[in-house]
């Protein structure tokens, strides 16, 4: 297919998507109460945000995988179109939720352990498992981010090979990730937590680089093993919890997996000097859970699966992996151990700070020694995730809000970083920093996006990342004092490796530049229209959240206040 015809096809495809999106919006406006349950409330989470993408993804996958390879090629175009359309529906719903178009939400009056769109359905009554979903200031930004990133990723990797299966997998991935963020039941949480591994495993295995087999296995086994440790913790917690409380008196075990009940029990028990389950048991369970989360985050020294997975993963996989999947670890820390084991958290506060600091410093120093662009970005993710641990260790609402905002900002910036790396790989067939010079001459757009993303990641003010870094430092100094010099040094080192990599790829090179040898003398191409669209959207949102951070920080601040009132103030002492 010639490139112009391909271009026309793409324009038509995008036009069709836009038209369908408008049609759905009109329909939604005409029938606002479609699917309301008995008390007139619509459960906007279970089916529209979680069930629908997963079911649609599975159906499309099943449909496509039955066909022969030749047919798969033919139906790739309609299937990717359908996947994009389906992924826009959760985005529309989460955006509408933010703007209060579906229900009126006041995040400020949401107290501790209170959730928006809280819906519970019986599932395995006998052992106290229910399908329980809901959102608060912690999960909503993550849910929106996921719904936002999935269509962006699809657009940016529109031409990925085997589109008939690739795009449905992304759709499935998005549904599974949202499931993690909205789950209010430990059992459900764990199921979705593991479910996310499967599509990512196949993304790496099928669309990855030359060493994809090893990377996929390492990714799966490493994080799965850590999850099992976490599961051990969860099961122990399940059996140790006081019996007979909450809505599941009738269960065989007398216990529940319901998070809200557990949080309420813990908060009710933790009054005064009481410690839920006792400090020693809290410490053990805290460590078990943290192992699962820290490996996912990842924190040094459990981080080595990440560079391998990123380097081998396809661009779309990397974008989702860095954008949302890593945040599952941070989200998990914020959601479960802090709420149930606050005393263990206080006990391990300095350890968490140390791990965060080590991740931060080690990640950035190792970045300086990398020659592969994507590996460098992967290590920079490790470094940025360390910042989140610092925020948690600061024991301040400001620090927690900073960690939340860091998760969110990094969720927008890091997909752009990986998209730039992907463009290098896709168009130049090389991500080695030393292979090329002066690419700005040939690919002005790619160079602009690269510079933008790099600058955003090194914490330039008025872009999203800065606010989080500033708040972390503010929360850090009062409690850890001169240790602040280390995060400070990291700010300079980060600037160092980002500028260094730009100088050696897009700058220098004389009047004609030095395209990489892997192009075999062809004219280096600039990036394509779908990539342009995705990059511009990501860049615009980076600027919006950088200039107007209160859009997202408002609900995060409300959540942290509620958390501190509910957990650390121990019933308002």
């Amino acid at each position: 297919m010639s490139s112009t015809a391909n271009m026309e096809l793409k324009s038509k495809e995008f036009a069709l998507v836009g038209f369908l999106a408008i049609a759905v919006a009109v329909l939604a406006a005409l029938f606002p109460n479609l699917g309301a349950n008995a008390d007139g409330n619509v459960d906007w989470i279970s089916i529209p945000l979680v069930g629908f993408p997963i079911i649609a993804g599975v159906i499309l996958l099943a449909f496509a995988s039955q066909e022969s390879r030749a047919t798969q090629k033919k139906i790739a175009a309609p299937i990717r179109l359908a996947s994009l359309c389906f992924s826009l529906i959760p985005l529309g719903i989460s955006t509408a939720l933010f703007f209060d178009w579906l229900i009126a939400v006041d995040w400020a009056i949401l107290g501790y352990n209170e959730y928006v769109l809280d819906s519970q359905y019986l599932w395995m009554e006998s052992i106290g498992v229910s399908w329980h979903v809901g959102m608060d200031g912690l999960s909503f930004p993550m849910v929106w981010l996921t719904t936002f990133l999935v269509p962006i990723t699809m657009i940016m990797t529109w031409d990925e090979k085997d589109g008939a299966t690739y795009h449905p997998i992304l759709l499935l991935m998005g549904g599974a990730l949202i499931g993690v963020f909205v789950a209010l039941d430990l059992f459900m949480f764990y199921i979705f937590w593991e479910l996310t591994l499967i599509p990512m495993f196949f993304l790496i295995l099928k669309w990855g680089g030359s060493d994809r087999r090893y990377a996929a296995q390492k990714f799966f086994i490493y994080t799965f093993t850590a999850s099992l440790v976490m599961l051990l913790g969860l099961i122990t917690l399940y059996f140790l919890q006081p019996e007979g409380n909450g809505p599941f008196h009738g269960t065989i075990t007398g216990r529940t997996f319901d998070m809200t009940t557990l949080f309420a029990n813990a908060a009710a028990y933790n009054l005064g000097d009481n410690v839920f389950l006792g400090l020693e048991m809290q410490k053990i369970l805290f460590v078990l859970l943290m192992i699962g989360f820290l490996v996912k985050l990842p924190a040094v020294p459990f981080h080595t699966w990440l560079p391998d997975a990123h380097v081998q993963a396809p661009t779309g996989g990397s974008m989702i992996l860095a954008g949302v999947m890593l945040k599952m670890g941070a989200y998990g820390i914020m959601r479960i151990p802090i709420a149930i084991f606050p005393d263990a958290l206080v006990y391990y506060q300095d350890v968490i700070m140390a791990i965060g600091l080590i991740s931060l410093v080690w990640g950035s120093v190792v970045c300086l020694g990398q020659t592969n662009l994507k590996k460098m970005i992967a290590y920079s993710s490790v470094s940025h995730m360390g910042v989140i641990l610092l925020g948690i260790a600061s024991m301040q609402p400001l620090g927690y809000a900073a960690a939340l905002f860091m998760m969110f900002a990094h969720g927008i910036i890091s997909p752009m970083l990986f998209a730039v790396c992907g463009a290098f790989k896709h168009h130049y067939h090389s991500m080695e920093i030393g292979d090329m010079r002066g690419m700005a001459k040939w690919s002005p757009f790619l160079s602009v996006y690269m510079m933008f993303a790099w600058m955003a990641s090194l914490g330039l003010p008025l872009l999203a990342g800065f606010v989080a870094e500033l708040m972390i430092l503010l929360a850090y100094w009062p409690i850890y004092g001169w240790w602040i010099l280390l995060p400070g040094a990291v700010l300079a080192i980060t600037a160092g490796y980002f500028l260094w990599s730009m100088q050696r790829t897009i700058f220098e090179g004389g009047d004609e530049g030095q395209p990489p040898a892997s192009l075999n003398g062809e004219t280096p191409p600039d990036i394509t229209m779908p990539e342009n669209i995705g990059m511009i959207i990501l860049a615009v949102f980076t600027v919006i959240f950088g200039i107007f951070p209160f859009i997202a920080l408002g609900m995060m601040d409300d959540w942290t206040v509620a958390l501190f009132e509910g957990v650390f103030n121990k019933g308002g002492i």
Binding site: T304, L368, P549
Partner: protein
């Protein structure tokens, strides 16, 4: 005080900021089309009215707020909460966006908007006539206007936080503009160096801000932190530490020792950028930050913050002499100006240090005058240096042009060795470029401090006040001595630059054919020459007293003001200070220039006549040069000169430190990460694989082996049972 203009004040930085994407986008759309190149000057004619609007709004704001302080909060940037573990109380911390206006703001606002506008005019002449810039000028104007927006925003900001935000924005723009010719390795390197060096300072600045925020209970707004009651509630030692950290940021931004290395390399950018960075914006940002700290020194207990004042003065004094020394041997006309910038900024830092010491030790009146003198020097230096850079740009541009004319037959081969910026290729340009020569003539005089011109009014104040402090505090003798020596050194290197460029016979054929012919370029030169020559008006308006006085300030009669200034300089009641004044004038006006004339002076070519106000000097220099037989080869071959050529080895040492230590360590770390940390994981993998291989080898398929194993197992079980029993 009308509140209307305050509401519009946000437009001053906002207009340029909004023009940034517009120029970039239109430039990308219409690049190369005749309308875009001819009518819009590739974006220059979009930037110019925007900067004009900013200038007009600024002047309106200035006229409206000449007296007193005002400010307004625009909106809440974000809110977050603070938990007190002891009481469990949760309080809200608010981060606002707002505008703050006082004398300091007004002065810098005028400097920034006025110079940015003139540099924009200059750029249209300079950038758009050079074929090197074809089809990329939209990038220049977009980045330029964002830079201006950063400076204007920083000046208007009402808190240290927003000061920092715009400060970083300028850092980004300087990176982009210094690396404008990104395909040149030297430019890419210089851009990175500038960003990283200032970033090192910025790290300390933000840590200082964090400390300050903590000290002042979550406030960084000027209105709160400068309140005397709030300062009194703060531990002066901690405050001094926080301000010291912030000062390191200023050292980086204003290119002071030891973070000065980026500035000479920054000359890789186009000349308008040099004018922008060195005169109007970037380097002034550091001074502005330090000047902003002044109220802290006035409100803290006597002597509690003297150490920081002394450190500031020391850094200033050291840089003043060091930069002047290096400027002695530079051959590149822009590099001389770069070092001169460093040196003059160091004067301002020394003056600020003196002002702070005086304020902290209860000499409020003297402190006000010292602060005013330092800030007035900032003003004079900005005007003169902006002009000097644009004039040097004019010289370079016409040299380029003449070079092209002379070699138009071999157009394809542009990369020859001719260096249009080297003063060794110039000479005798006074008659050929009269406007430029005049501008540089008065600009240099202003920088040197020739009586009654520009910088004279302020520089004498700085030197006198520094010495005044030195008589009270012995530690100040060293910076005081340094700034005094620096005055004479300034006289030498500025005269040297002017004489090498404009006096004597043309040293190359190119220089003999130079003509002043590019439109737009003379406009800012004339405007700034006027500003430099009329500095006495500002002096007469008691601007020193007014600048130093944040609240209120008074105007006295015009001639009375000039008389006061003159009396202060020439008829000082303190005999030692009076003596000092004459020594300083003698050094800078007589000794330095005479020495330069001896070495570099010379008459013009026969038949060439310069304008009368310069001709006498050229002839004088020729006479001195011819009459004196002076051998300076011993000095020229000394090891000091050699190390001056290498910029006193700072760059070498820093490069070595970064390359050998930091990068070396990083490479080791990367190796450790893959071999040891990941190696451990790989070890677990391979061990489990080996184990399973070994276990698998037990499955031999032979019945004999299985019977053997079953028998052994049975025996083992019996053995265990027996053991237990």
């Amino acid at each position: 005080m009308s509140s209307t203009i305050l509401e519009y004040a946000i437009l001053i930085p906002l207009l340029p900021m909004m023009a940034f994407p517009v120029i970039l986008f239109l430039g990308k759309m219409f690049n190369g089309t005749p309308g875009w190149v001819g009518k819009m000057k590739e974006g220059g004619f979009i930037a110019l009215p925007v900067m004009g609007a900013s200038l007009i709004l600024s002047i309106w704001l200035i006229i409206d707020s000449l007296h007193g302080t005002s400010g307004t909060t625009l909106f809440t940037w974000f809110e977050s909460s603070w938990w007190d573990p002891a009481t469990g109380a949760i309080t809200t911390k608010v981060f606002n966006v707002g505008i703050h206006i006082d004398h300091l703001t007004i002065m810098l606002l005028f400097v920034a908007s006025f110079l940015c506008f003139l540099i924009n005019v200059f750029s249209i002449g300079y950038m758009n006539t050079d074929p090197l810039n074809d089809n990329r000028n939209h990038r220049f104007y977009a980045e330029f206007i964002l830079f201006c927006s950063g400076m204007l925003g920083m000046v208007l900001a009402d808190s240290f936080l927003w000061l920092f935000i715009f400060w970083e924005l300028m850092g980004l723009c300087s990176y982009l503009l210094i690396g404008f010719y990104y395909e040149r390795p030297s430019a890419a390197y210089a851009a990175k160096k500038a960003f990283l060096t200032t970033r090192v300072g910025d790290v300390f600045l933000i840590i200082g801000l964090v400390m300050l925020w903590n000290l002042f209970n979550g406030h960084l707004e000027y209105a709160y932190v400068f309140n005397a009651n709030n300062i009194a509630a703060v531990d002066a030692g901690s405050l001094q530490l926080a301000l010291g950290m912030m000062f390191i940021g200023a050292v980086g931004k204003s290119a002071q020792f030891p973070l000065h290395v980026w500035l000479p390399d920054a000359m890789e950018g186009p000349t308008p950028v040099s004018a922008l960075i060195h005169a109007a914006t970037m380097v002034n940002a550091g001074l502005y930050l330090v000047a902003r700290m002044f109220p802290f020194f006035a409100a803290t207990p006597v002597g509690s913050m003297s150490t920081l004042a002394i450190i500031i003065a020391f850094i200033g004094g050291i840089t003043a002499v060091m930069a002047a020394l290096i400027a002695f041997v530079q051959m590149d006309i822009k590099k001389v100006l770069a070092y001169s910038t460093m040196s003059q900024l160091a004067y301002i830092f020394t003056g600020l240090g003196a002002a702070m010491w005086l304020a902290n030790n209860g000499h409020m009146e003297a402190a006000t005058i010292a602060l005013g003198a330092a800030l007035f020097h900032l003003f004079n230096h900005a005007m003169a240096k902006g002009m000097l850079f644009m004039a040097s740009g004019s010289v370079i541009h016409e040299m380029h042009h003449a070079h092209h004319e002379a070699h138009h037959h071999d157009h394809g081969d542009e990369d020859d060795d001719f260096d249009a910026q080297s003063m060794e290729n110039m000479g005798g340009l006074a008659s050929r470029m009269p406007i430029t020569a005049t501008a540089m003539f008065f600009g240099s005089m202003s920088i040197i401090g020739i009586p009654f011109i520009g910088g004279f009014w302020s520089k004498e104040g700085i030197i006198a006040k520094t010495w005044e402090v030195a008589f009270l505090e012995p530690a100040f003798f060293i910076p005081a001595l340094f700034v005094l020596c620096g005055a004479g050194m300034t006289g030498f290197y500025m005269s040297r630059m002017w004489l090498m460029t404009f006096a004597g016979k043309p040293k190359t054929e190119v220089a003999a054919n130079v003509q002043e012919q590019t439109a737009w370029i003379p406009i800012p030169l004339v405007a700034l020459t006027f500003m430099t020559l009329t500095a006495f008006i500002w002096a007469g308006l008691e601007v020193t007293g007014w600048l130093g006085n944040y609240d209120g300030g008074h105007f006295i009669g015009f001639f009375e003001g000039i008389w006061l200034e003159l009396k202060h300089i020439f008829l000082n009641h303190d005999i030692s200070l009076l003596l000092l004044t004459y020594v300083a004038i003698g050094l800078s006006m007589v000794l330095g220039p005479l020495y330069a004339m001896k070495l570099y002076g010379g008459r013009l070519d026969d038949g060439q006549v310069a304008k009368p106000w310069m001709n006498w000097l050229i002839n004088l220099s020729g006479r001195i040069n011819e009459k004196s037989e002076f051998d300076n080869s011993a000095w020229a071959n000394s090891s000091l000169t050699k190390s001056l050529h290498k910029r006193l080895h700072f760059d070498d040492v820093y490069d070595a430190a970064v390359l050998k230590i930091v990068v070396g360590f990083a490479n080791l770390a990367a190796l450790f990460d893959t071999k040891i940390i990941d190696g451990a994981i790989k070890g677990i993998e391979s061990t489990s694989q080996d184990a399973s291989t070994k276990v698998r080898s037990l499955t031999t398929g032979s019945a004999r082996d299985y019977i053997m194993m079953a028998a052994l197992g049975t025996l083992l079980i019996f053995g265990l049972l027996w053991g237990v029993a």
